[in-house]
């Protein structure tokens, strides 16, 4: 007979990384959650790179200017635009998450009377507004990166 105290705790409902992909009937917010994490990882990677690049200015103009010239390469410009898109999405979706976390836009608690209204559906206009703003932000960035001469 084994003692329960020696057994490791199990959470059979934990999906791990596969859970990021949905694995069930979920609203669009589930995929925004995945995208929020992926853009967060991309931004963190860029931040580390950015700290090293910008610290190089300590070495003087003769080091700074060749590094900045590299950033005008089309590949780097494309990566920079993707980082801009990731920032726009992460920031505006983050505003939605902050507002929901603080209890805004989800309605007040009420008796569950059919047809049920969930807080997820109540915050959907906020989600749509934030995604439209993200789209506008990306369009503005696209104009900057691809239409204006640098």
């Amino acid at each position: 007979m084994t003692s329960n105290t020696t057994l490791p705790r199990r959470y059979p409902n934990r999906l791990g990384l596969l859970g990021w992909l949905g694995k069930g009937r979920h609203g669009i917010e589930r995929y925004l959650y995945t995208l929020h994490r992926l853009t967060g990882l991309a931004l963190l990677g860029f931040l580390v790179f950015h700290i090293f690049v910008t610290s190089s200015r300590l070495l003087g103009r003769q080091v700074w200017e060749p590094i900045m010239a590299l950033t005008h390469h089309p590949v780097f410009q494309a990566v920079e635009f993707l980082i801009f898109v990731a920032f726009g999405f992460h920031a505006l979706n983050g505003v939605r998450l902050l507002l929901v976390e603080m209890g805004f836009a989800v309605g007040k608690p009420e008796e569950p009377v059919y047809p049920y209204k969930s807080s997820l559906n109540r915050q959907r206009p906020l989600m749509l507004t934030m995604m439209v703003l993200t789209g506008l932000f990306i369009l503005l960035g696209g104009f900057e990166f691809f239409a204006l001469d640098h």
Binding site: P8, R9, R14, G16, L17, R37, G40, L41, L43, L44, L47, V48, I51, F52, T54, S55, R57, L58, R61, W64, E65, M68, T71, E80, F84, F87, A91, G94, V95, L98, E101, L140, G141, F143, E144, L148, D149, H150
Partner: protein
Amino acid sequence: MRESRYWVLHMLSAMVILVFLGLHMALMHLSGVLALIDPALAKPVAWGHVLARARSDFFTVTYIFMLAAALFHGLYGLRTMLYELSENPALRKAVTVSFVAGGLGLFGLGAYALIAMHLMTRA
């Protein structure tokens, strides 16, 4: 209790990043659009503009705050994702210790560069 404090800090750092990184992204990555309004805002990575920002107290202080907030926010976020993958206490501690060390190292490098440039341009 400690974890809920970290979560509140994660939220607060998000607000700091939203304001300062929003300003930074606009100045650095929408410079062409902004230059249509004020031509002085064009070419923000030109050496003269880099020195002007380094000389400014406002930019130096806000960059240091933004660096701290962004590193905390990003590393705490990644730590949360990694914590979900394993419940092994030793592994979790190793993640936390390495992130604290890495975060402090990156903050040290970034803050040193900011302060050293500020002092050099002021001299």
